[in-house]
Amino acid sequence: MAETKLTKKMIRKSFINWMMYNLSLYQPETMQAPALVKMFGDIREDLYPGDLKEQQELMARHLPFFNTEPFLGCIIPGIALGMEAERAAGGDVSTELITAIKSALMGPFAGIGDALLPGTFIPILLAIACGLSANGEVTGVFFYMAIFLGVMIPVTWFMFTKGCQLGASAAEMILGNDLKDDIINSLNIVGLTVVGCVAAAYARINISWTYVQDGVTLVDLGALINGVWPKLPVYLGALGTYYLVAKKNWSAMKVIGLYLIIAIVGYFAGFLAP
């Protein structure tokens, strides 16, 4: 493993940058990428002292889309940091590899992270906290703050630093160890399954066309189509969006533009409801 240029201080600064700014400029086009740009921007001098061109490339390669669950998923910026540091130190780390590892991990960590953090851990703590505060006591509030931050700050710090260490050797692990790609394949499958669930749970497309006769609903198109398969419009919408983004290389903004047109037309044609 090549020597890296990472100091404790750099890691700490990057960690804080990530933890604070991950969603600061959140939008559907690049999502959390601006925060990565900031994170690397703040240590660009440490990595490539005086070399503006390298610094610029470093920042530029983190401009494209990045999104994951920010806190359990903070291992990914950690890995990216580790890899960049090794690269800066002259290690044999290609920029493709850095992009590949980010792409490989962000989906699974989004799915799993959302299911575990706001989906499981937080509601349990809040349930207890609400119990303790039911009468207006502050106990539950302090309990929640203490336990939640007491657990999550060390956990995220551990994940991030773990990522940094792994990152430095990730190249070898992936190239020299075929286990890694089985792990990524498997993670992708969990990720996809959870994303399927989450799409079903959080996206909505309500077909509103109904035909009412004498006060009785004769045809309720939405109900009929959901009767063929529950939430079928959302499923088709998900596949359609995937098709546009993945096969037609549409940008997020273009897709959203299409959504807007469909929303306006659908609403005034009476086919879509809120």
């Binding site: 933890m19 604070m20 700014y21 969603l23 600061s24 400029l25 959140y26 939008q27 559907p28 601006p34 740009v37 900031k38 921007g41 610029q56 920042m59 401009l63 806190f71 989906g107 799915g111 959302d114 989906g119 937080i122 809040l126 609400c130 502050v138 539950g140 929640y144 995220t156 075929d178 498997s186 993670l187 499958i189 969990v190 990720g191 996809l192 959870v194 994303v195 399927g196 669930c197 989450v198 799409a199 079903a200 749970a201 959080y202 996206a203 909505r204 497309i205 529950p230 499923y235 998900a238 596949l239 969006t241 983004v245 993945a246 897709v255 959203i256 959504y259 306006i264 409801a273 809120p274």
Partner: protein, 252 residues
């Protein structure tokens, strides 16, 4: 409510919004101080009645206890609901039922702002891109700091107006908003999270058959009524099988 109190509350509302960095980021802001129960405590401090605030906070918290915001879908708008309904509830002495009703009203119409908020955020994002391209790296690094000002506008102002002018004002706003606009913006926002999911799917789908896994997760939720944790469990089982098959392929 004094002007100062309204400002402080609206500021705290902004600071605990999911996208805001200045309270240490989402772990401390959104996921900790931003939970209605915890917010209630701080709102109570500002208003000088912690006990009532927490009592109402428990009610609002319980509505949103399972809120997950995958792929940027922040709906319903728990943050606005909390920072509008809770202070009004405390100050005008609403009971729990009226407070939660108010919270739900606020949470559901607030979606109208989601799309414009995202659109406006594109401005600093594109500017950051340009700065990097132009080699203005120090400036590019700072964009995520001041760029969040966009979100300030979209969060502080509506919160402040609603809180300061109170329940009557909210009801006036609700009653006088063009229904068509609210509806279209809601329809527009409804499938928005699919964009984020599609980008993730693009990364995770290696061959067309992988769509089956997405569909299994979809079917488990939509057709069998499984919750997210259960889907995670089944996803792990499928992943374990994939892993074993991958190992077997290599004779390991």
């Amino acid at each position: 409510m004094t002007l100062l109190q309204a400002i402080l509350i609206s500021l705290l509302g902004y600071l605990t919004y999911i996208h805001v960095p200045f309270l240490g980021g989402g772990l401390i802001g959104w996921y900790c101080v931003g939970r209605p129960l915890v917010s209630a405590f701080f709102i109570g401090l500002i208003l000088g009645d912690v006990t009532t605030a927490i009592q109402l906070g428990v009610y609002i918290q319980l509505i949103f206890i399972g809120l997950v915001t995958p792929g940027g879908s922040i709906s319903p708008d728990m943050n606005l609901a909390t920072y509008v309904a809770l202070p009004i509830g405390v100050v005008t002495g609403l009971d729990a039922g009226a407070t939660t009703a108010l919270a739900i009203t606020v949470a559901s119409i607030a979606n109208v702002m989601a799309a414009p908020n995202f659109a406006a955020t594109m401005i600093p994002v594109n500017y950051q891109k340009k700065l990097v391209a132009d080699g203005k790296l120090a400036a590019a690094t700072k964009v995520p700091i001041w760029g969040n000002g966009v979100k300030f506008l979209f969060r502080f102002i509506p919160t402040f107006v609603s809180v300061y002018y109170g329940q009557v004002a909210i009801e006036w706003i609700v009653a006088n908003s063009p229904q068509a606009l609210i509806d279209v913006m809601t329809i527009f926002g409804n499938p928005m999270s699919l964009v984020g999911f599609a980008i993730l799917m693009k990364l995770m789908i290696k061959s067309a058959t992988d769509i089956i896994y997405f569909t299994v997760g979809f079917a488990l939720f939509a057709a069998l009524g499984a919750d997210m944790v259960t889907v995670l469990v089944f996803g792990l089982a499928l992943a374990l099988i994939e892993f074993k098959v991958g190992r077997a392929r290599k004779g390991a």
